[in-house]
Symmetry: C2
DNA sequence: AAAAATTAGTTCCACAAGGAATTGACCAGC
DNA sequence: GCTGGTCAATTCCTTGTGGAACTAATTTTT
């Protein structure tokens, strides 16, 4: 079944690139996949939005297996795990802060939080100052989940970065930082007010 | 509101990375000036999975507005547009090829394709050689959609890349390419299979 | 000090998305 | 020419998501 799904969905190495990288070439099975390869290849490289295609591809290859694992291991949905993860990064924030930061809709978050409280991963207390707001904190159990999951998340990231040496990683990190910071900045003055909303980690 | 949350949780602005990258100093400065909400900041910079956080953030900021616009403008869902977009990049592929390449489930794609055919954006003909497979092609109308949408997609990408000069863009492109290609390659031999599948562009 | 506007969180509901099982076409092997 | 296995595409069904409307607490306005 493991074999199955690996075979089932997927793209694989690509030919045009192989030509210039004979080191990566490996055998007959590539041939059967050539056509598909070409298509995926085109989507990543012959695309007017190549940058977007790449980070979308990375996001896909990162999120899908990890959240799939989270689902299997802890039976937590992506949103739910994001809440836990968020609290691990900064404890004591409110649901709506997570909402605005992750762009999940409030109701989706509300549900997630309630389930997490049921499961005992998260505790909620009312903010003294503002009785509407509820401050969320991780419980022991919640912390344990993060502690178990985090290495896996960090591990896949490291795996992804494996082909880069240290200098290159620094460089990539810096370049992405520049882009991200600029978007951050521009966000504040977008007229359009209010991104429609969708998921993120 | 952004003001609000910034006030409530103070901005601890960090971090090892900034220190060794003086080029970004002004970025950090910019952040605090903008009173960027501290939590989002933490998620992006104080995160053991910083690389992942960044490309996820980019994907979010890219996809949400664009697909929101597509929905409004053409009343097409993300999957549906992905089909059109895929055909624009490489015409004449089959639904299942798009499926494997984008990791959308087949049934979701089937629905999307059927709707697109109804709407007249896509035409389908049976493959002469294999009567199971159906070759998809863009119609005039479909092409028109892409032609209208593409500049917007490319435009946002350019906007995102604006803070980088040409050399930096080259560099970023190259580094991401390295990572993507390695994943591309490694994918064929991933052990830990069962990838559930989710969206992508 | 009452009314209006804003904000946190929840509830309700319609619907889109994906897993599983199904149909029909193809390609073995014997 | 059958039989079993695979693959493309579709249909069915369950679930999760997110929009909109709602409650309650708070802030602002006049």
């Amino acid at each position: 079944m493991r074999e199955k799904s690996a075979r089932r969905l997927r793209l694989q190495h690509n030919d045009a690139f192989m030509v210039e990288n004979p080191a990566l070439e490996d055998g007959a099975e590539m041939l059967s996949r050539q056509r598909l390869d070409a298509f995926t290849h085109a989507r990543l490289w012959k695309n007017p939005c190549g940058f977007a295609a790449r980070f979308n591809y990375l996001a896909l290859r990162y999120n899908v297996p990890l959240y799939g694992w989270v689902k299997e291991r802890f039976d937590l949905s992506r949103v739910e795990f994001v809440v836990i993860y968020s609290l691990a990064i900064q404890d004591g924030v409110s649901a709506s802060e997570i909402a605005s930061s992750t762009a999940f809709p409030k109701n989706t978050l509300s549900r997630a939080v309630n389930r997490l409280i049921c499961l005992g991963y998260v505790a909620r207390r009312i903010d003294g100052g503002d009785r509407r707001a509820q401050i969320l904190t991780l419980t022991e159990a919640g912390r344990a989940v993060v502690d178990e999951a985090m290495p896996r998340f960090a591990g896949l990231e490291q795996e992804m970065l494996a082909p880069l040496n240290l200098v290159e990683r620094e460089m990539l990190s810096m370049l992405l930082a520049k882009v991200v910071l600029a978007m951050f900045h521009s966000e504040s003055q977008t007229e359009d007010g209010g991104v429609p909303s969708t998921e993120e980690m």
